[in-house]
């Protein structure tokens, strides 16, 4: 008992630990993921991405554990399942969101499948914990390359679709009248979301995904309704959550995921409190 508490307590050598090479990977990886999530942040909150984040996280879980079972990279399995899941959700459109029971059942089944695959793969039992809760401290160079590629792909696609995707998210009716492929833009967004999910799972895990993909832009939306501002501020909130979470986790030798989520939650609560007045008094009425 005392041994456990001693391990948990304040680590006087935390500054040394922070400068270790594996910490550099952790910081780089966390920041890349916050960036990937932040860039799509505005669209996540405007398009009801809460649902997609939740669903894709669950769908990715059996992908990761199944890949381990087959001796493949869990990142690959995660990515394939998330993107496939995004395409299915996109094809179902609003129905997926409306059919709460059917969707919930499928997601529960996916999670069960993930646990089954994990128990069959005796070689790597830590995969389940890593996928469910993330493991930022174990991020490898290979993973960093994947994170960077995902961030670049998201940035590249957004550079092309940003304006049409914004209009299609804000008013699908006007976007359709203007000739935009509203359905395809929705699927495009979901695939970007799947890529962000694939990397975010490796940082905070499927269960805590929300805190990195949804909470920061939701907090940013309290301060501004301008797409670029929401994405930038959301990215800053995500980066602060990751960096501060990592530092504190090293100081107390506790899992980083917990602190990343804690910082993100605190930012959100503070954002709600700070902007409470302004939201209540609404806009100037000149007529």
């Amino acid at each position: 008992m005392t041994g456990v508490l001693a391990e948990v307590g304040y680590q006087s050598n935390w500054v040394e630990v922070l400068s270790a090479p594996f910490m550099r990977n952790a910081f780089t990886g966390g920041i890349l993921v916050a960036l990937a999530g932040g860039m799509i942040g505005y669209f996540v909150v405007v398009r009801g991405g809460e649902f997609a984040a939740h669903a894709l996280g669950h769908i990715g879980f059996p992908g990761a554990t199944g890949a381990v079972l087959l001796g493949l990279s869990p990142t690959l399995g995660l990515g394939v399942f998330c993107v496939a899941g995004a395409l299915v959700i996109g094809a179902l459109g609003h129905r997926a969101r409306d059919q709460a029971v059917a969707t919930g059942t499928v997601l529960a089944f996916a999670t069960g499948l993930g646990i089954l695959f994990a128990s069959l793969a005796t070689r790597n039992t830590s995969t389940v914990t890593n996928v469910l809760f993330g493991n930022l401290l174990a991020v490898s160079r290979d993973q960093l390359v994947v994170f960077a590629v995902v961030a670049v792909v998201i940035a590249g696609v957004l550079a092309v679709v940003a304006r049409p995707l914004t209009l299609a998210s804000i008013s699908p009716e006007v976007a359709a009248a203007k000739g935009l492929p509203v359905r395809a833009l929705g699927i495009c967004f979901l695939v970007l979301m799947a890529l962000a999910t694939t990397v975010a799972v490796q940082v905070v895990g499927t269960l805590l995904l929300f805190a990195l993909l949804v909470t920061p832009p939701a907090a940013a939306l309290r301060f501004s309704a301008r797409p670029v501002v929401v994405c930038s501020l959301g990215t800053v909130f995500g980066v602060v959550s990751v960096v501060l979470g990592l530092v504190v986790s090293v100081m107390f030798n506790l899992p980083p995921s917990f602190f990343v989520v804690t910082v993100s939650t605190v930012i959100w609560v503070v954002s709600m409190l700070v902007t409470r007045e302004r939201h209540r008094t609404a806009a100037p009425t000149t007529r």
Binding site: Y42, V45, V46, A159, V160, V161, A162, R163, P164, T166, L167, I170, S171, E173, V174, A175, A176, A177, K178, G179, L180, L221, A225, R226, P227, V230, A282, A283, P284, T285, T286, R287
Partner: protein, 274 residues
């Protein structure tokens, strides 16, 4: 009383004069439209002259929104041909501006009025390239609807009347030749209804633009109307104002007794008969 009704007298231009060279704003030939085998309306044969201010009336579910979406190329006709401004209806026609039904509610809190108006202009452009002229056009559109004072606020924070001004600016910013508005007066109080009607009339004085407006109450528009499209018994018809505003027809149309009243000054209005 002797100088006749003032109906239609403020509409600019005389559509008959251009008949030869200007194609009609809308031409339906043998059009029927429906969803999944169920016909919404059929036998659509009508022409709406260019340059008018035309209301579209009909009971709930009669297919008014469907008619607008047909003109916008968003719904294909089950049969017949749909021509808008002399060309077949197609999606993404930059000559048409569109204010959808319940626009303010649907847009939500994640956009400012100004950004929305800009999207009305550049929202269908791919890539990041910025056109330096856009901001001036956005400013002009906001000024035209007198929305400069609140354009920086979130749409959800605005009053219904303010939201409708932004919605109209969003549709007008590309200088369309045809503006279609789906129930722009819904949920507005009397003062705001009159303000929006005045705004539309003023916009028409500044630039020649044909307006098609779906309404449930003709009265706010009656002094300015040039014609009416009415959806009656499953078919759309177009009539010049004097032919349509008629007790018997309106009573039939609304399924409740309606009376047309002409005041001493020549104004027309309709009222439900007690």
């Amino acid at each position: 009383m002797n100088d006749g009704p003032r109906v239609g007298s403020t509409a600019p231009g005389d559509p008959a004069r251009h008949e030869a060279d200007v194609p009609p704003a809308v031409r339906l030939s043998g059009v029927s439209v429906g969803f999944g085998g169920r016909t919404v309306w059929s036998h659509g044969d009508l022409q709406v002259p260019t340059g008018g201010l035309v209301c579209i009336i009909g009971p709930n579910g009669s297919g008014k929104t469907t008619l607008l979406r047909l003109l916008l190329g968003m719904v294909p006709p089950a049969s017949g041909s749909v021509e808008v401004l002399g060309a077949p209806a197609r999606r993404g026609n930059p000559r048409i501006g569109y204010v959808p039904q319940r626009f303010g509610d649907s847009v939500g809190e994640a956009i400012t009025g100004r950004d929305l108006v800009r999207l009305g202009h550049t929202g269908n452009r791919w890539g990041l390239r910025r056109d330096p002229g856009v901001e001036a056009e956005v400013d002009a559109a906001l000024a035209a609807v007198e929305a400069e004072g609140f354009a920086g606020s979130r749409l959800a924070d605005l009053s219904g009347g303010q939201q409708q001004r932004i919605a109209i600016a969003q549709a007008m910013v590309g200088s369309p030749d045809l503006l279609v508005l789906d129930e722009p007066l819904a949920n507005l109080d009397l003062r705001n209804q009159r303000d929006v009607v005045d705004l539309l009339v003023t916009l028409r004085e500044q630039r020649p633009v044909t307006m098609l407006v779906v309404v449930h109450d003709l009265n706010p528009f009656l002094p300015y109307l040039t014609g009416i499209v009415y959806l009656l018994d499953g078919h759309p018809h177009y009539g010049e104002i004097s032919d349509v505003v008629d007790d018997e027809l309106l009573t039939h149309l609304y399924g409740t007794s309606v009376q047309v009243v002409r005041t001493a000054t020549g104004d027309l209005y309709t009222q439900a008969r007690p």
